[in-house]
């Protein structure tokens, strides 16, 4: 089926980007982070050693978790760790988003044709 061919192809591209290319991403702080670090000086381990900046107020993340910071906890190989976490993230995002969109999709209309006049009945039939 044509539609699914495109979806599968797109997913493969996303998996390749998150699973492999992600290892070649820049590890510098992004635009937001670097703006918040303005005014502080950092040592080689990225710890603040002087100055004053918004980033000093940063607090621990509530959850963390085994995939925190786009890695797999306990996996020493950086390449595998980043790549696998990316693959899991792509699959999880597709499952959550695709699943949710599929559940709430519109089902009250026959397959679309160009001729129809008023077909959309605003009376929402929830559930079902």
């Amino acid at each position: 089926m044509r539609k699914w061919g495109f979806i599968v192809g797109g997913l493969l591209v996303a998996l390749l980007l998150a699973g492999v290319v992600s290892n070649f991403a820049s590890s510098h702080p992004d635009g937001l982070d670097s703006s918040l670090r303005e005014g502080c000086t950092f040592d080689a381990d990225d710890e603040i050693i002087g100055g004053s900046c918004p980033a000093q107020q940063e607090r621990e993340h509530e959850i963390g978790g085994p995939l925190a910071d786009y890695g797999i906890a306990g996996l020493d190989n950086d390449f595998l760790s980043t790549g696998l976490s990316g693959v899991l993230g792509v699959l999880l995002t597709f499952a959550v988003a695709g699943g949710a969109f599929w559940l709430v999709r519109r089902r009250d209309r026959a397959p679309q044709d160009a001729t129809g006049a008023e077909r959309t009945d605003p009376a929402v039939t929830s559930g079902g």
């Binding site: 699914w4 979806i7 670097s34 107020q57």
Partner: protein
């Protein structure tokens, strides 16, 4: 190693302001579900899942920008708005942010409302307004589509960054002496360059999809050229 944090972390904006934006974001997303349901059919639903997954993937790809030591990554608003429309597009970006906050420790959970407001609400709104205007005035060619994608992506990123500056003005946890010009300046300049990267990625992706499956590009379906000639438009005013 925390260099991969990409979104607003805990502690940067105070709790009350974060809570207010959580309510704003929740309301906005609820509205998007309402409006988006009209767009979501058997064809759009899997495509929207793919768009969310693709945005997650590309957000991992930090690219270096102008100055040494600063990177940027896709926000995805213009891309999502182009491919699946503003309502579903905003939901796609929001799902990515929720997954990142809950599973990847990226962006505080308490800060989700702030991040969603900037990237899913402001970013998408600005992008789609520009898309709606540009697609109608520019020629219906791959070049016209590319320019639309590039400009809407670039501008939406800079405006979304200013959303953060506004939030920082309201509830920033470091006293910048009442002077946000410095923060606004670094955010604007860095996101101008990030916006160029975002524009290139968005234009490349949208033009590629339009070449392979033009019927899957929401903006091309929904936004007819300026002068509709024979086809009578049926309902569905957007």
């Amino acid at each position: 190693m925390e260099a991969l944090a990409m979104h607003i972390s805990n502690g940067i904006i105070n709790g009350p302001v974060a809570a207010v934006f959580a309510v704003i974001a929740l309301a906005a997303m609820a509205y998007c579900v309402m409006r988006g349901r009209q767009d979501l059919d058997d064809r759009l639903a899997p495509m929207a899942g793919l768009v969310a997954a693709f945005i997650f993937a590309v957000q991992m790809l930090n690219f270096p920008i102008f100055t040494a030591g600063v990177s940027g990554h896709l926000l995805g608003g213009a891309l999502a708005a182009m491919l699946v429309g503003p309502w579903v597009g905003a939901l796609c970006v929001a799902v990515v942010l929720v997954v990142q906050a809950l599973v990847f420790g990226d962006g505080g959970v308490a800060m989700l409302g702030l991040n969603i407001t900037n990237m899913a609400v402001i970013g998408i709104a600005v992008a789609y307004l520009l898309i709606a205007v540009l697609l109608r005035v520019l020629p219906r060619t791959p070049a016209g589509l590319a320019v639309t994608a590039f400009v809407s992506a670039l501008v939406s990123v800079v405006v979304a960054a200013m959303g953060f500056v506004l939030q920082y003005q309201l509830g920033g946890t470091t006293d910048l002496g009442g002077n946000l010009a410095g923060l606004a300046g670094t955010m604007a300049v860095s996101h101008l360059f990030i916006g160029i990267g975002e524009g290139l990625i968005t234009a490349t992706t949208v033009v590629t999809v339009a070449k392979v499956r033009p019927d899957l590009v929401y903006a091309l379906r929904a936004l007819k050229p300026a002068a509709p000639v024979t086809v009578p438009t049926v309902g569905g005013v957007r």
